[in-house]
Symmetry: C2
Subunit: 127 residues, 2 copies
DNA sequence: AAAAATATACGAAACTTTTCGTAATAAAAG
DNA sequence: CTTTTATTACGAAAAGTTTCGTATATTTTT
């Protein structure tokens, strides 16, 4: 599959656990998911099996407890999802999206500084 | 329903038509949708009926061709969807999302200027 | 070695979303 | 007035997503 398939909400939750904690077993993933909400063990297992079939994750079966690794890179997936929202809800206007994202005033000064730096670099690089 | 329900992809496409063209009939909405892809008339009708039930749109039935009006405001919906993506994919870091959105370098100078202005205002307003 | 705990496989139910066919009705054209 | 066209109502199929129960197998504990 050339273009990475858009993960569903439940799949994304699992991906985030793997991105944050590295390759993990079903038990590890399910435990972390259960810190936030109740999810049955076999539910998580089934999701991972489906994700394996979709080639979103890969299962290392050398041990009895299979170890799952993400086949999607975090930043690529974020970019993909962001771009899809950009088109679907903002008609492709990154400006609108950015201003909505910053508008609530919850972004710290140091983060704003990083964004300003990026903008400077973009302005420098633009011909 | 206190919090506006998150519209589905197909619902969002319809909302965008209404936001852009104002209150419209099924025929008008379906024609515009069909500029981009083939969609059956009754499919669009059914969606609008479901959206009416969900209180996403309101149907004015005084004429035979019902006229549908959005009950969701464009900016509120964008904010809602953006926030949901922010949490689900970026762990709440607006900085990461913004940098991904601007990173491709497709944002024009004048738009960057507007963003810079917003950041200045945020910095001024921050205590 | 028996019992208990842990793991995977897998079917299927419950739910949501999307799509469309058919029927009924109303309006317009002939 | 009759035929054609346009519209809504509605059921339901098709597809996708999420959840979990049960069966089976393996490992660990007693």
């Amino acid at each position: 599959m050339q273009i990475p398939p858009k993960p569903t909400d439940a799949e994304l939750e699992i991906l985030r656990v793997i991105w944050q904690h590295g390759s993990s077993t079903v038990r590890q993933i399910n435990d972390i998911l259960n810190e936030k909400k109740t999810v049955g063990y076999t539910t998580t297992l089934k999701l991972l099996q489906i994700m394996t079939q979709k080639e979103i994750v890969r299962a290392d079966k050398s041990d009895r407890s299979h170890v799952y690794t993400s086949l999607l890179k975090e930043e690529e997936t974020q970019l993909h999802l962001m771009d899809q929202l950009l088109q679907a809800a903002f008609g492709g206007s990154a400006k609108k999206l950015v201003m909505q994202a910053l508008g609530n005033g919850k972004t710290s000064q140091s983060e704003l500084d990083e964004i300003k730096l990026l903008i400077k670099q973009l302005e420098r690089g633009a011909e």
